[in-house]
Each structure stands twice: as structure tokens, then as C-alpha cells.
């Protein structure tokens, strides 16, 4: 059981350092001076309602978008000052992009993760094949290697793309809703794999119970700003959830493990807002 560890030691060197980053898209500022940090190997979650800027911030971290202000540093290096290839050797991403026009095999899709590590003509290097096969085994998709990527179910695709991110051997793994399309068993498995894989993980998650169960630290985004951060249990209080997500949250204790889970109901608009901390 990989429960959340305690709060990060503030004196430890931060691995990922998102420093007052603002992101603009088509003239609109979607992310406002967001700062967040993760120590090496930590799993940091980003939660917030739809449109709160989670994906936009993540896209800035894996370099699809340039920050309008601030910097994203990994182990001290400004990612946006590196070449695209050099940055991709440090940061891998599992994006929400699933469409593909061309029918690559699963093995070919996974092998693309070695692209930033290749030289010259970009021919596969020694050991690439082994790495790819191992990553596929890790996500329990070894049997899919010779299948066409387009023929896979949504969950299978997600696992294959996760394997591709693994063979990139990144220092930072960025996951944008990694549990989308996955059944419950694979949701738990992907998040456990992300932690076991070793790199620092920054992940956007919709499911707050998953976030609470798998992240060391949570940052709550609303309208492009961080409104709360800290260890999950301190962050996910009913008052905050009512304010940010507009839901009534009821903490309950798992009868077996004692872990706290949240139950959600619609906020009754006519009822007064209960701002007291969770029972």
C-alpha cells in the first residue's frame, strides 16, 4: 500500500520548480502566476474543476506552450531554454491526445518514446527493443505488441501510451488525466506504476479519492490560480470542495484500512453552506 507520505521536507532540494508561471492562449490569460514544487520522486497531483487550467499548466510543463511569464525548472534547468529534444529526454508526457490517422503497431508507438535519445539517422539503438518490450510488460500489454494501435480499446491505448512515456526514461513524468478511459482496476494500477517507475510525477486528476490516495502533495487550481496546496488530507476539506467544486463532500472511513474517502452530493442551493471542517 503506497499511502501518501508526510509533507515534503522544506529543506530538501526541489526537483520540479514551477516558478510564478503564467500561460496565455490566443490573448487570454489562462494560468495566473502559478508556483508549485515537487521533490525528486514525489507524486504531485493537480486537481480542479473543468476549465481551471490544469491541462494548460501541464502543456506548459511539457513544452507545447511557452509561459508568458515565470519559468519551469527541473533539477535547476529552465526547460524552455533547452532544445526540444533535450527537454524531451527529461520530461515525458501522457497526453489526452488519442487520435491517430496512421495504423502504427503498438511496438512502433512505444518505440517512439526513444526518439529524443536517438542520434543521426534515428535508427533504433541497441537495447531499445528490450526497453520497449519491458515497458509493455510493465503495463501488462506485452501481448499487444504486434497489434495495430488503432484497433485497441481506449484503456489499452492508454496503457500503451504510458509504456511509451516510460521508455522515454524521464526525470519528470507529466500525466494529464491518466485514468481516463481506464476501468477501476487499471486506474489504480496506472497510478501505482507511476510511483514505482521512479521519476517525479506531476498529474492532473479528476477523481479526488484517487488523488488523495496516490499523491504526496495536492495543488488545487481554480480559474487559473492555486487556491490551496499541501498533503491531500489537509487540502481536501469539505469547505474548500464546496467552494471550488460546488459539491457537498462527506468524509467516511474505510472500515478495513481506516483510510478516509469522500462521498459527494450536489450542494443544495437553498441550504446554507456548511463551512465547518470535515466531521
Amino acid at each position: 500500500m503506497t499511502g501518501p507520505s508526510g509533507p515534503a521536507d522544506p529543506t530538501a532540494a526541489q526537483d520540479l520548480d514551477v516558478d510564478t508561471v503564467s500561460v496565455e492562449l490566443a490573448g487570454a490569460r489562462l494560468v495566473h502566476e502559478v508556483s508549485l514544487a515537487a521533490a525528486a520522486g514525489q507524486v504531485v497531483g493537480l486537481v480542479g474543476p473543468n476549465g481551471s487550467g490544469k491541462s494548460t499548466l501541464l502543456r506548459c510543463v511539457y513544452r507545447v506552450l511557452k509561459p508568458a511569464g515565470g519559468a519551469v525548472r527541473l533539477a535547476g534547468d529552465d526547460l524552455h531554454a533547452l532544445s526540444a529534444r533535450a527537454s524531451a529526454r527529461r520530461v515525458a508526457a501522457l497526453t489526452q491526445e488519442h487520435s491517430a490517422e496512421f495504423d502504427f503497431t503498438v511496438a512502433e508507438v512505444v518505440a517512439m518514446g526513444r526518439l529524443p535519445h536517438r542520434r543521426g539517422f534515428g535508427a533504433p539503438a541497441d537495447g531499445d527493443r528490450e526497453r520497449c518490450a519491458e515497458a509493455l510488460r510493465k503495463v501488462r500489454a506485452g501481448h499487444l505488441a504486434e497489434r495495430g494501435f488503432l484497433s485497441l480499446s481506449g484503456g489499452e491505448k492508454q496503457r500503451v501510451l504510458f509504456a511509451r512515456a516510460l521508455v522515454q526514461e524521464p526525470r519528470l513524468l507529466v500525466l494529464d488525466e491518466p485514468t481516463n478511459h481506464l476501468d477501476i482496476a487499471h486506474q489504480l494500477e496506472v497510478l501505482a506504476l507511476a510511483r514505482e517507475a521512479g521519476p517525479t510525477v506531476l498529474t492532473a486528476l479528476h477523481d479526488l479519492n484517487l488523488a488523495a490516495g496516490h499523491c504526496d502533495l495536492l495543488y488545487v487550481l481554480r480559474a487559473g490560480r492555486i487556491v490551496a496546496s499541501g498533503p491531500p488530507r489537509e487540502v481536501l476539506r469539505p469547505a474548500l470542495l464546496a467552494e471550488v467544486f460546488g459539491v457537498r463532500a462527506t468524509p467516511v472511513r474505510h472500515p478495513g484500512t481506516g483510510a478516509v474517502q469522500l462521498l459527494f452530493d450536489r450542494l443544495d442551493p437553498s441550504a446554507p453552506l456548511d463551512r465547518s471542517p470535515g466531521a
Partner: protein
């Protein structure tokens, strides 16, 4: 978890053929076809004699006095024409692969996107009005290249939205603009008011290798080979781009930069090819598809097989175009369409999933 494919339309990749042996086979077939291209024609010269004349030309051997005419036909007419057919076929197939990755759509090719007809405008401006005369022998190629670039930029700018390129917009924009470019070519032909102009316009719109000389081979072959080399080096990055902009960026391939690169390569190769052969349709659409069906989608393999297959196809199409109704000559584009339309429809039925905007 181990569900069957949703629609059963996806062929199992185990039918794939190893790319390297296939490429060797295609290269051998191409070599044989080049000899056939020289041997077949209106004036029957006969294969043994053709081989002897080719050998004589290569080794500087002696000719009989009565062989001068046959030698001229073989060396000055048929050989450059056949070599050029191979070069054009390889170039069209390669640019087809590049454009399809560029717009991430298997329905695209330089012809569909209006690049070919745009290049024809530039080439005709030189041929009919003597534009850019100061560039000498390079004038047609340079002008075709320039107008191919302009045509591509126009299509790209007209089709793009704030959220990138959608395949449907691109194909529609390309179709519309290519009609505009074809009309411009036709207008120039009328304005030029020369007897041969109408025939020349037909050639530009449907394609022909009838004007091939050794003079046009080095430029065309050089550009196509350089383009192929560049695309070959970019094969891995093309895979990334084909998976989507986000994925591409996450893999360290700047999608916008790669697109600009592909723009220039495609315009250069298409422009040069169109300058020597007119706008030949379907090759850039069909051959990449056939290559993918045979060896899969990885660009490293597609770019090995597609140019050879394109060269092979065009050599035979050219042979057909000048022998079937000899001495009359049919435009090459008629044959690529005759072959292309049914094959295309068949492929679309078999692999329908690959054409829609399925996400």
C-alpha cells in the same frame, strides 16, 4: 481488457512484409523496367539491339552505320524519358508521404492540396511568357518551386484555424484553390496565343513526360534525391508528428518547425517534378497507401518502399501512355487516374476507419 477491435475493419499487422527485402525486390524490378521502358516504343528496335546500344553508349563501343537513328532514339529520347519517369514517380510518392504526415491525413497529396497545379502556374509563366529568363535553364524549376511554395502557403493559411489544421478544411481549401490555379494556367495559355499552347496546357493539367531530355534529368534527379535524403533522416520525427502535435512536442519534435521543413521540401520536390512532367495526380495519394498496407505506418519503412514503388509505377504508366495508342500519346494522368480511382475506392472500403476523423 483484451477486447476485440470495435469494428473488425482493422487488418492484423501480421500480414506485413519485411521492408528491406521488398525494397531490394522493387529496386531490381525498377532496373528491369527501365530497360523495358527503353525497349518498348513506336519504332520497334528489339530488346537485344536495345541492350547492345545501351552497352555501346555506356562503354563507348562502336556502332554500325545504320544504327545511328536507333541509337539516338534509345539514348536521346527513350532513356532520358524513362529515367525521368522513375525520378518523377519517386518524387511524387515521397512528397505524398511527407504531405500526409504534414497534415496528418491519408487523403492528402500535393495534387489534392493544389500544390501541383500551383507549381504548374509558375512553370507555364516561364514557358509561355519567358518570365525569369535571367535564371536560364533553372528558370522553369525555380519558378515552379516558387509558385509551389506560394500555393502551399496559400492553402495552409486559408485552411488553418486557431486550433490548427483540420483535414476536411485542408482538402476543401486545396480543391478550391487547385481549381483556381488550373483556371489561371488555362487563362495564361489563351493569353499567350500560340498554336502549341493548348496542347501544352493539357500536358500541364494531366501530365506527360513527352518533353523529357537529358537536360532536365540532373536537376530533377538531384532535387528528388536530396528531398528523399532529407525525409529519410526525418523519418523518426515524422512518426512523432503523425501521432499528433501534443505527442510530437512531448517527444522533443517541434511540430511547427518540422512542418515548415516539410513545406520547403515538398514545395521544392513538387515544383521540380511538376516543371518536368506537369501535374500528375494520384501517384502521391496511392503509392504511400500501398506502401503502408505492405510494410506498416513507420516512416522509416514507408520512405524506403514508397519512392521505389512510385518510380516503378510511373515507368510503366509512361510506357503504356506512349505505346497503347501509338503513335498518338496519351497524358500520363489519364492512366494514373484509370489505375488510381478503382484502387482508391477499394482501399477506402477496406480501411474505412483510417479516413474519418475518428478520435
Amino acid at each position: 481488457m483484451n477486447r476485440a477491435p470495435a469494428n473488425g475493419a482493422v487488418g492484423p499487422p501480421d500480414r506485413r512484409i519485411p521492408a528491406l527485402p521488398l525494397a531490394v525486390g522493387l529496386a531490381a524490378a525498377l532496373l528491369l523496367s527501365l530497360v523495358c521502358g527503353v525497349a518498348f516504343g513506336f519504332s520497334g528496335i528489339g530488346l537485344p539491339r536495345v541492350l547492345r546500344l545501351l552497352g555501346a553508349g555506356l562503354t563507348g563501343g562502336r556502332l554500325e552505320a545504320d544504327e545511328a537513328a536507333a541509337y539516338a532514339i534509345v539514348w536521346e529520347i527513350r532513356l532520358p524519358r524513362t529515367v525521368l519517369a522513375a525520378v518523377v514517380g519517386a518524387g511524387l510518392a515521397a512528397t505524398g508521404v511527407a504531405v500526409q504526415a504534414l497534415v496528418r491525413n491519408a487523403l492528402a497529396d500535393p495534387f489534392v492540396l493544389g500544390i501541383s497545379s500551383g507549381a504548374a502556374v509558375g512553370a507555364n509563366a516561364v514557358l509561355l511568357f519567358g518570365a525569369f529568363a535571367s535564371l536560364g535553364v533553372w528558370a522553369v524549376s525555380a519558378s515552379a518551386f516558387g509558385s509551389a511554395l506560394v500555393a502551399m502557403a496559400l492553402v495552409y493559411l486559408a485552411a488553418r484555424t486557431a486550433y490548427g489544421l483540420t483535414p476536411l478544411r485542408l482538402v476543401l481549401t486545396g480543391t478550391a484553390l487547385s481549381h483556381g490555379f488550373a483556371a489561371t494556367t488555362t487563362l495564361m495559355v489563351f493569353a499567350a496565343d500560340r498554336g502549341e499552347a493548348a496542347r501544352s496546357a493539357m500536358m500541364w493539367l494531366l501530365g506527360s513526360l513527352g518533353g523529357a531530355t537529358w537536360g532536365s534529368v540532373p536537376i530533377a534527379a538531384g532535387t528528388v534525391l536530396a528531398g528523399l535524403a532529407h525525409l529519410g533522416c526525418a523519418a523518426g520525427r515524422l512518426d512523432g508528428l503523425a501521432m499528433g502535435d501534443e505527442t510530437s512536442a512531448a517527444l522533443g519534435v517541434d511540430p511547427d518547425r518540422l512542418r515548415r521543413e516539410l513545406f520547403v521540401v515538398t514545395a521544392a520536390v513538387t515544383g521540380t517534378v511538376v516543371a518536368v512532367s506537369g501535374a500528375i495526380g494520384f501517384v502521391g495519394l496511392l503509392v504511400p497507401h500501398l506502401a503502408r498496407m505492405l510494410v506498416g505506418a513507420a516512416h522509416r519503412r514507408v520512405l524506403l518502399v514508397a519512392p521505389l514503388a512510385g518510380a516503378l509505377l510511373l515507368v510503366w504508366v509512361d510506357i503504356a501512355s506512349r505505346t497503347l495508342l501509338a503513335p498518338a500519346e496519351l497524358p500520363v494522368g489519364v492512366f494514373t487516374a484509370v489505375l488510381g480511382v478503382p484502387v482508391f475506392l477499394l482501399m477506402m472500403r477496406r480501411r474505412g476507419h483510417a479516413f474519418g476523423g475518428r478520435s
